[in-house]
């Protein structure tokens, strides 16, 4: 993993088209501004992880579902 130190208002560039700017730092919270092309979705990792786990649980459904009335 590449580790880079940045101060507020500094940015990093990923490839030609993605920049991540540190907008501000308050306590242990960092605000990031991400600029990416329209076809690159950006999401918080924890949302992703929760969905991944939910999908995997859903894949363990019983062989037969109860009948709906």
């Amino acid at each position: 993993m590449l580790v880079i130190s940045r101060r507020a208002n500094e940015q990093i560039r990923i490839g030609d088209q993605i920049t991540v700017r540190v907008l501000g730092i308050v306590g242990n919270q960092v605000r990031l501004g991400i600029e990416a092309p329209r076809d690159v979705p950006v999401h918080r990792e924890e949302v992703f992880a929760t969905i991944r786990e939910e999908n995997r649980q859903a894949a363990r459904a019983p062989r037969k579902l109860p009948d709906l009335p």
Partner: protein, 165 residues
């Protein structure tokens, strides 16, 4: 049109027109697999199955969200939708994954946060992340509609009907 034959642990051998395949180029989130088939066990099934073509053991219960949440209106950004776009019209079908792992119908949940968006013309789909925060990953299946008042919205997608004998 060519047919595809594959095996399902749950449903046995399945044969479908190639045109009935749903193709998720990126798989689902955390679940690999490009080719899937939508299976209904009765014509008016409220919960259907998304069966993997590549993995016989892999099938997820899914539902048309409007059946259980009639006012469902996910918000998805343009970047996410781009791979599905074709022309100006974007008539996407939506399915949501149902978590039935408890086996108890009362405790089933539905993932309103990460809907499956499918272009019914091309069969291409993806699992999007809905940016509307009020939609839960594990919303109660019966959070908006009582069982006795269920009005089933059928999916406008190729569906394989495999009635139980």
């Amino acid at each position: 049109m060519s047919t595809i034959a594959f095996e399902s642990e749950r449903f046995g051998p399945i044969e479908v027109d190639a045109g009935a395949l749903l193709q998720f180029d990126e798989g689902l989130i955390g679940i690999p697999g490009r080719d899937w088939v939508l299976i209904a066990q009765r014509a008016d099934a409220a919960i259907l199955w998304l069966q993997s073509v590549e993995d016989p053991a892999l099938a997820l219960p899914v539902a048309v969200p409007e059946t259980f949440y009639p006012d469902y209106a996910p918000v998805v950004d343009d970047a996410t939708l781009m791979p599905l776009a074709q022309g100006d019209e974007l008539p996407l079908e939506i399915l949501c994954v149902v978590n039935a792992s408890s086996g108890d119908l009362e405790r089933f949940t539905i993932n309103l946060r990460a809907p499956l968006l499918i272009n019914p013309i091309t069969g291409h789909g993806l699992q999007a992340i809905n940016d509307a925060d009020e939609y839960a990953v594990a919303a109660p299946l019966w959070g908006a509609v009582e069982i006795s008042r269920l009005r089933i919205t059928p999916p406008q997608l190729p569906t394989v009907l495999l009635e139980e004998s």
